[in-house]
Amino acid sequence: MKLQSIAIIGGGHAGDELIGLLREQDFKGDITLFDASTLGPYERPPLSKGFLQGDISKDSLSTRSPAFYDRVGVQLRRGVTVELVEVSEQGVRIIPNQGPALEFDAVVVATGMAPRQLAVPGSTASGIHYLQSLEDAVILRDALLDAASVVVLGGGFIGSESASSINQRGLNVTLIESGSRLMKRAVSEAVSHVFQRQHEAAGVRLMLNSGLVSVSSEDGRVVGVQTIDGENIQADLIVASIGVRPRTEFLDQTGIVLQNGFVVVDEEGRSSHPRVFAAGDVALFPNPRGVGEPTPIPSVDNASWSANIVVRGLLGTSVPEKRSAPTFWTKQYGLEVQIAGLIEPRDHSVIRGNEQGSSFSVMHYFSGKLVAIEAVAAQRDYQAGAKAISEGYTIPPEVAVSSDVDLSDLVFSTSQGRRSEG
């Protein structure tokens, strides 16, 4: 299929990356980008970290210069939302909320995630914030200037990072999480615990296994919350980070296979319709471990990787390369955990170093094979683990726990050795 025109829906990390990659791979046809935001591409990870804390300016988050778009040649439709997509054997028709419907040979869906809205009684009060886009972050950061007490709802990465950033601004923070520990779906117990200790040491009040009954307000403005434990907590504003859902409603009528709203795609990023691809957070690729259910991978690293794969799928340029381990990271109170590989509950894990301290690693094994590492302030372990996982080399658990062995020396001497043999 020789493509003359490609539409990209969504201008985040994945969508914007696609523009440059298509041109790098010598695609000479028309590229049109539909982006609901008018702020252009920007770095998303700092929004809940340095930007919220006040260390980073809005302008410094920008990831492209105007000259780039002029040079590569692309139709930019910013501030435009796609309302409907119609697919046929001949092409894809896009119906935006403004301007005429347009026809393309292929489309890439890279619309990312929308925050789940708080729905308890009182949730219509003003002062309830979400943190997903730069628009959200700017509004929240301004609102913090007039606030003294903040309730953060949800202790995933975004909630936990937000609580840290807001605490570091000197505000009084209560972090309420429904689960038994922070970042439960993304990290193992030891890692949750070290970050929980950081929150508590900094003066954040942590309420686990808790949740809201209602939001109370005066004159339409938030003044506090009631928790299921029967407590009333005062708050000038609420940051709700209680989950996300894929922005794919415009595909509902197409018959394209979705799973919980995620676009199910093959190894080349192609959906159940040959002209429709997906990249970034909304794309549900086969499990990178080669076994198990497909799993969403919400990270910039994955956005960049999937954009690369989709370009190959679109242009048929070459087979997908071997995937390096997906990576994630978070930084709170200056403490960083770096993660490579996907962590699954059934994995066997061992801990390297002292988990009560503030530097250790958790190594995860499946069927005796190293599949993931979480490194808390342990740069050398992380690099060794990430490299080993990507290359399919296993550091045996009994070696991993030995403080006498430097994992970096071990892995890099092995892979160098292999390289020279090969």
Partner: protein
């Protein structure tokens, strides 16, 4: 301000005017230098902004810090003696005329 040239794996050469204080990786990304990935946004997490600095240009740069050295061991394209991560190169007048070669692949 410094004028910096990037030679990409596809043979293209881009010469960019870079503002002082910016990370060289960011300048490259903002202008779409082919082959620079920079997946982590310059946080020394990913080693996908690998460039190689010709020997005659090395003197323009401060030597890599310890954490960059460590990260360089992780590049997909094996590091060369003059390899650098462009997110750790901060633009200054001293870089004027710098020319770097983007690593053949980043992941």
């Amino acid at each position: 301000m410094a004028s910096v040239s990037f030679t990409s794996p596809d043979g293209s050469v881009l010469t960019l005017e870079a503002a002082n204080g910016e990370k060289l990786m960011k300048v490259a990304k903002q202008n779409g230098v082919p082959g620079i990935v920079g997946a982590c946004g310059g946080n020394l997490q990913c080693a996908t902004c690998h460039v190689i600095v010709p020997s005659e240009h090395l003197a323009k740069l401060a030597p890599p810090a310890a954490d960059e050295q460590l990260k360089l061991a992780e590049t997909a394209y094996p590091r060369e003696e003059n390899s650098r991560l462009s997110c750790q190169i901060i633009v200054s007048d001293a870089l004027e005329g710098l020319s770097v070669v983007v690593a053949p692949y980043q992941r």
